[in-house]
């Protein structure tokens, strides 16, 4: 684990009535680190993201971003430096690509001069995700992969220190997935930490520095891709086991 933690989640739990969706999960993310979050469907990965970004308030536990405790509404957490994308794409469909990015700038701009200065940066972001030429297209007219990329650009426009990606390659073909891998690496190279939820194991194990496995709301294990890949408990969680897993 890196010394300077960008994100430190301690014992985060979320209950919905009798259902414990997230059960005392710890997660630490270091500077410029890419952490994967995997687990079977219903393991609580997205709920955990929602807790981190303030869309759900955790029942218990503590979340710190660069040492500062996070709480409150999503917009305050975004302003603090956490940005996310959504599993089911949530762009502003009737706004243009550029307008979508500009909304991401909202919390970093004040009325007046600054918004004009900020424009250059918006085009940089579109360049980064390869949508520079589509700037004036409507978000809803983009193809699926481009919509995913625009969501990333919009999240980056909030100037985050930590980017949370919820299934960024869902529905992408192999080539698109490869370019998504490149994109996430480039984002990390700009100094951002990234947490990524994904079911595509090749994508996860090829990209992440560290992988955490959630099963039934609990963290089963955490380690380098090699460690996690060879962990029989992880294999059992995904495929079931003929014999009871060694504990």
């Amino acid at each position: 684990m890196t010394a300077a933690a960008v994100l430190e989640a301690r014992a985060v739990s979320k209950r919905f009535g009798g259902l414990v969706a997230v059960n005392s999960v710890d997660l630490a993310v270091g500077e410029a680190e890419i952490v994967g979050l995997i687990g079977p469907n219903g393991a609580g990965k997205t709920t955990f993201f929602n807790c981190l970004t303030g869309m759900e308030s955790p029942t218990s536990g503590e979340i710190r971003y660069r040492g500062r405790r996070l709480s409150g509404s999503p917009d305050r957490i975004t302003a603090a430096g956490l940005a996310r994308t959504f599993q089911n794409i949530r762009l502003f469909p009737n706004m243009t690509v550029l307008e979508n990015v500009l909304v991401g700038r909202h919390c970093r701009t004040r009325e007046g001069l600054l918004s004009a200065i900020g424009r250059g940066r918006n085009f940089e972001l579109l360049e980064l995700v390869g949508l520079r030429r589509a700037a004036d297209d409507l978000a809803r007219n983009l193809n699926y992969g481009d919509q995913r990329r625009l969501e990333i650009a919009r999240a980056l426009a909030t100037d985050p220190g930590l980017l949370l990606l919820d299934e960024p390659t869902a529905g992408m073909n192999a080539a698109e997935t490869r370019s998504a891998t490149e994109l996430v690496r480039r984002i990390r190279d700009q100094g951002l930490a990234v947490v990524v939820i994904e079911h595509d194991m090749r994508f996860i194990f090829g990209l992440c520095d560290r992988v955490a496995v959630l099963v039934h709301g609990q963290k089963l294990t955490e380690g380098t891709p090699a460690e996690v890949q060879s962990d029989p408990r992880v294999i059992a969680a995904y495929l079931g086991s003929p014999t009871p897993p060694p504990s």
Binding site: G42, D75, R90, L91, F92, N94, V103
Partner: protein, 562 residues
Amino acid sequence: MGGRWRGPGVTEVRVGVAAVRQGVVGAVRRFAGPRRAVVAGAGAALTVVGCNTPWARFAFGYPGKMSLGGFPGGARTYALFLVVPALAGLTRWAGRRSAAIAGSFGVLAVSAGNLVGLAKQGGGLGAVAYGAWLASAGGLLLLLAAVAGPDDEAPTLAERTLPPVVEMAAVAASLAAVLAGVWYGLGVDEATRFASFAATVAFVASALAGLGVIGWLQALYLRHRAVTLTASALAAVAFPFTQGGEAQWIRVFASIGIFATAAIGLNVVVGLAGLLDLGYIAFFGVGAYVAALTAGAGTTTSHIVLPYGVAILLGAVVAAIFGVIIGAPTLRLRGDYLAIVTLAFGEIFRIAVNNWDSVTRGPNGISRIPDLAVGSFNLGQPHRLLGLELPGFANYYFLELALLAWVILVFTRLNDSRIGRAWVAIREDEVAASAMGVNTVRLKLLAFAIGAFLAGAAGTVDAHFGRQVSPESYSFLQSVTLLAAVVLGGMGTVPGALIGSTILILIPEKLRAFQDLLFGVALILMMRLRPEGFAPSRRRQRELHAEGEGADALSAPPGTGR
């Protein structure tokens, strides 16, 4: 929120209607298709002859001297005029089926409508002369030829770019045509004839839209914004001078201005931020009561008298405070729920004012509000300017015009700003907006407060203009009418609110007899044919015409995922 109010079963109805339409069009095409030119020519000839021959057997006071032949009088002029767009749409050069249908349907509607009107007033079909039958038959033949035509093919004007001088001339000419139309319309006194006129305008407009002229003009207005704005402002300022000292229409247009100011304020709330407010008139009422209580009215219960500059500010600020008080607890609600709660608050205002006798004088209201006076200049008195007599209402008209200009400025500045963009984002997807760092609660509250502020300001003018305030002026129906103006004109745009307000004030003024029926029919037709309103914002147009673009990939259900 809002957006898609498509109830269940709509698709099925659509499919059924489409099947029937296909059957009818198929039959007409089989019949009139091979001899379209003949049918159209016969239709046009019949209409021309019909419009120049008598429509009534004897004179009985029906407008337009219908019993005389040899010239087209009254509604016959309109029917004759509508032949032009019908034929224009039918020619190979333009080839726009929708325009041809609009024009020929207009001929039929005006002829047959007046035929029915003549029969009703003249005591039966015996009063109707052959001319009306000829014109109606001509309209029907034109319609058959139009329906049998091929679907729209020819390119519309919208993409064409002409030399700037020509374009500016087109802007000026179109605005002049609109003014001339308004001018002529104001002079049409008889209700039946005005109904024919209004129908003609509607059909000509939709024929022009079919020919692509309207879209082309809209593009021109945007490209030559300065010219359009200057010309409109000049026309608005010049209007009172053209009335020859007559107060009637100046008064009507001043009340249109007040109504439009409030409508633009409502447009901030509904059109920009997407919050459906059904109690908006309450804020207008707050402004009006503040002005009434601080103006030293004959029946006031307070002894405060403030100069109007202070009163207008106070009225607006108090209304904005009410907006925040009402908004803070309710803006957590969405869509239908917000609409219901705002409706209730609107009623609470009316009922409270109705019962708070010691301050508002209950149902009697506060009357004998004095005219505004700035120094020795009394706004109620007629004045002479440039050698022309201006009635007292003209002063209110100018005051209202200044307020309207200011409100338009506020609206456009907001629309283009970072805040306006955040409002649109909230309307599109509130969850995503908040995840992108937009403080949704604060921004929605801001929209509510600004809307209330503008309504309050308009209310203070209205108190002086109408000379009295009473609770019944601020009923639910008023909120609905304001909302109808915004929706009819086009949500989220200034021209939309202006057009909607003008129509909703002017038409009832002209057609007192059957305004409710017409209003209802007009709204239904509008929602069916042009749901985005007369002057929609580009974004709104996209939202409502999403089909066929394969665009539903993004219409994810609400909720934050798992």
